[in-house]
């Protein structure tokens, strides 16, 4: 085990800002992508049956 305590774990040997800054932004961006995927799908599903692009309704 590398860590004596939770505060030791969060401190990352003094590199906490860099390590957690990397992991937090990565996790946040992936969460945003997943949300955007579901939003796009919901919008696309709601338009099934509508005329395709370039077609007159």
């Amino acid at each position: 085990m590398n860590w004596a305590s939770w505060s030791d774990f969060f401190a990352m040997g003094g590199y906490g800002l860099y390590v957690w800054g990397s992991y937090a932004v990565t996790a946040g961006l992936i969460a945003v992508e997943v949300i955007m995927l579901f939003v796009r799908r919901r919008n696309a599903l709601s338009r099934v049956g509508a005329p395709a692009a370039g077609e007159r309704p």
Partner: protein, 255 residues
């Protein structure tokens, strides 16, 4: 419109080149890849933070490697796959290939940005600089612009098949950047370290560090497949929204 055929071993491989056949197949595959990504990510983070030892030179800052390398590999690999499908679409004129290329671009751009971001946060404590205009970093930044350019170009063209063809040309020209990124650490003097893993020599890192890195790379791979399959299904819905098969399919099955 007649579909092209490619029959090998009694299976017509172009069958799945039709959006109609691929849509339910992709839907069935997504949960498997998503769960594999989640499990590999948990395993990779566990190995990365609790099993892999502290680096004797970089201390704990090196733990950024577990996302940095995975993201950087994916950023290049997704580009190659995107360019491959764009090229297939250009040659065979299959609709699904272009859709697949379009679906891959945002996830590729995401991983490119993550590679640059984590690289900056790793560079500051180890090199003393967030950013340097060195060959590896600059070519990776160009990769991000290639993804943005591909997406912007496609978004600017209303007719999807024309957007596919224009995007394909851009994607294929941009492929030249991938070997430049990969070999930049060999070809030029650079702050960036050389490859930690390659096919011709033993890895220059502890086995547990390598294990964590490979688990995270596999997780990123599985995630990318799940995300792009999910996105390609939305693209199929968008482009084929007035097609008979889709309108009927909606009433017969869970879409």
């Amino acid at each position: 419109m007649s579909q092209p055929t490619l029959v090998i071993g009694n299976i017509n491989w172009f069958r799945y080149a039709s959006p109609q056949a691929f849509y339910p197949l992709a839907g069935a595959m997504i949960p498997w890849f998503a769960w594999a990504a989640a499990l590999l990510c948990v395993a990779g983070l566990y190995v990365g933070f609790f099993v892999a030892p502290t680096d004797h030179q970089q201390g704990e800052s090196y733990r950024i490697i577990f996302i940095h390398v995975a993201a950087a590999w994916m950023s290049m690999f997704i580009y190659l796959v995107m360019a491959f499908w764009a090229g297939v679409g250009l040659v065979f004129n299959t609709r699904l290939s272009g859709m697949m290329a379009t679906a891959l671009a945002p996830t590729g751009a995401l991983f490119t940005f993550i590679a640059l971001w984590t690289g900056a946060l790793w560079g500051k404590p180890t090199w003393g600089a967030w950013w340097v205009w060195d060959a590896r970093l600059t070519s990776e930044l160009i990769l991000l612009f290639l993804y943005f350019g591909f997406m912007a170009l496609q978004a600017a063209i209303d007719e999807p098949r024309r957007a596919d063809r224009a995007g394909a040309v851009l994607a294929l020209v941009g492929v030249v950047n991938i070997p430049i990124i990969y070999y930049s650490v060999k070809w030029w003097n650079t702050l960036h370290q050389g490859a930690s893993v390659n096919l011709t020599s033993a890895p220059t890192m502890a086995a547990t560090m390598l294990a964590g890195m490979l688990l995270m790379a596999l997780a990123a791979w599985m995630y990318s497949i799940a995300a792009s399959l999910h996105r390609v299904r939305s693209i199929i819905l968008e482009r084929e929204r007035s097609a008979d098969w889709l309108v009927k399919y909606r009433h017969t099955a869970e879409p």
